[in-house]
């Protein structure tokens, strides 16, 4: 762990680079004040030397929307030209009625209140309410976004959600070897699981929840024990 640099709010960050006049890119957790760069969140400092990119990675529970991120949301209601969707952020998001694959004015999906959706954040800044879309607006294809029927949604920390989005996530792979299931992971800390039967779904959900503080090897062991108890 020698090369892991942990910073806390108020720490000055050394962003000295080889070239004199280069553009510095500050990611989350850093701010520039009076010509100096300070950390404003606690976490591990990451630096990419070839792009002069610095950022801090720390775990949180409350989601702050950012453009392009996949989220799992719940439909709260229908207002005018769109749905109001709860994605766990400070303000509810707007999902336009036509933001689905192949939707036209005459042929558009009808989501009920309480429906779960997997969507992509299309607009996010601190001044406006976030907006979602259930398709890739460039290609017009759904690419996995859309309504999620049946299954069960649960909450986890944002760091946990990001780990789950990695294709090599140990707990998901260990489960997938034994139990067939579908999963939709939102970076807003919400995960949707559908394993067919309720008992299987609950088992998968519990296994994922248990793995929050376990490493790869421990996760595999935990899944083995959980499946063995069935």
């Amino acid at each position: 762990m020698a090369d892991v640099k942990v910073v806390v709010p108020g720490d000055a960050i050394d962003t000295h680079t080889e070239e004199e006049e280069s553009v510095l890119r500050l990611g989350p957790g850093l701010i520039q004040q009076a010509g100096k760069v300070n950390a404003i969140a606690a976490g591990v400092l990451h630096a990419s030397s070839d792009t002069n990119h610095f950022w801090v990675v720390g775990n949180r529970r409350r989601y702050v929307p950012a453009e392009g991120e996949p989220v799992v949301g719940v439909v709260l209601g229908r207002h005018g030209e769109g749905y109001r969707v709860d994605i766990g952020s400070a303000h509810d998001a707007l999902l336009p009625l036509l933001a689905f694959e192949g939707a036209t004015r005459r042929n558009k999906p009808n989501l009920a209140v309480g429906a779960t959706v997997y969507a992509r954040v299309s607009v996010a800044n601190e001044m406006m309410d976030p907006e979602l879309e259930c398709f890739n607006s460039h290609t017009g294809k759904s690419e996995g976004y859309g309504e999620l029927t049946q299954g069960f949604t649960f909450k986890c920390s944002l760091g946990m959600a990001r780990r789950l989005l990695n294709a090599k996530a140990p707990v998901l792979n260990a489960l997938g070897d034994q139990v067939p299931f579908e999963a939709a992971v939102g970076v807003n800390g919400r995960v949707w699981i559908n394993a067919g039967a309720p008992e299987k779904t609950i088992l998968v959900v519990n296994a994922i929840k248990n793995s929050e503080y376990l490493d790869g090897k421990q996760s595999k062991q935990m899944v083995k024990e959980l499946l063995g108890k069935q």
């Binding site: 806390v8 709010p9 720390g58 949180r60 409350r62 400070a90 996530a169």
Partner: protein, 225 residues
């Protein structure tokens, strides 16, 4: 005059903290100094009432509850202390039109409760990932009846004091305090002596808080892929 617990005048009590123990809030921390223990739970940034909405920054709300009895005017003062300190430290302009709600509950009170409240709040805000300009820690000094000065008083020591002084400092390299509260009759020399003593105590408290936060971050990092 020896202190009842035989501490040196500049010696603070044993510090202890637990981060993230509450699972329904966005961030939490329990901070203890000796027998004084304060729990802080933080929500934010969340939706805000229209009445409190600020167009260019987050609205900060503090609720402080004593260990015994219903909140009184004294507790409102601590709410104001915490709010005014953190309104300057929380980077509210990154989250306009939202609310950051800080809930402080005294679990056990034995002096220096307002300082513990500020310390617990800093740790809870860090646990929640709410952007902070700096870490803030506080300490209390009292001037006793024999005009000697002691740091981190217990309730018994504070009750018999001529004056009480609470100072909070941040870990940015500035000399100006983040919070000052002085009560009672005191001279300017006594005030300055308390200032220096509290600054030294705050340095130790900040180092302790940094260690606690680093421990939490490292634990989270080793479970990542």
């Amino acid at each position: 005059m020896a202190r009842p617990d035989r501490r040196d005048p500049t010696q603070i009590r044993a510090l202890h903290c637990v981060l993230g123990q509450l699972n329904r809030v966005d961030g939490s921390a329990q901070f203890s100094a000796g027998d004084t223990s304060v729990l802080c739970g933080v929500y934010g940034p969340v939706d805000v009432k229209l009445y409190d909405e600020k167009l260019d920054r987050a609205h900060i709300e503090v609720k402080f509850r004593p260990d015994i009895g219903v909140p009184t005017t004294k507790d409102k003062w601590v709410e104001d202390a915490v709010r005014s300190t953190f309104e300057r430290e929380i980077l509210g302009q990154l989250h306009p039109r939202t609310l950051v709600q800080i809930n402080v509950q005294v679990c056990q009170g034995d002096g220096s409760v307002d300082a513990a409240a500020i310390n617990a709040t800093t740790l809870a805000l860090i646990d929640a990932g709410i952007p902070l300009r700096a870490m803030v820690a506080a300490a209390t000094c009292v001037v006793r009846s024999d005009h000697s000065i002691i740091v981190d008083p217990t309730q018994e020591e504070a009750d018999s004091a001529l004056s009480t002084h609470t100072f909070a400092f941040s870990n940015l390299q500035t000399n100006s305090p983040a919070y000052v509260d002085s009560r009672g009759e005191f001279s300017i020399d006594e005030y300055n002596a308390c200032y220096d003593m509290c600054m030294a105590a705050v340095d130790r408290t900040l180092a302790f808080m940094r260690t606690a936060v680093e421990g939490k971050i490292l634990k989270e990092t080793q479970t990542a892929l």
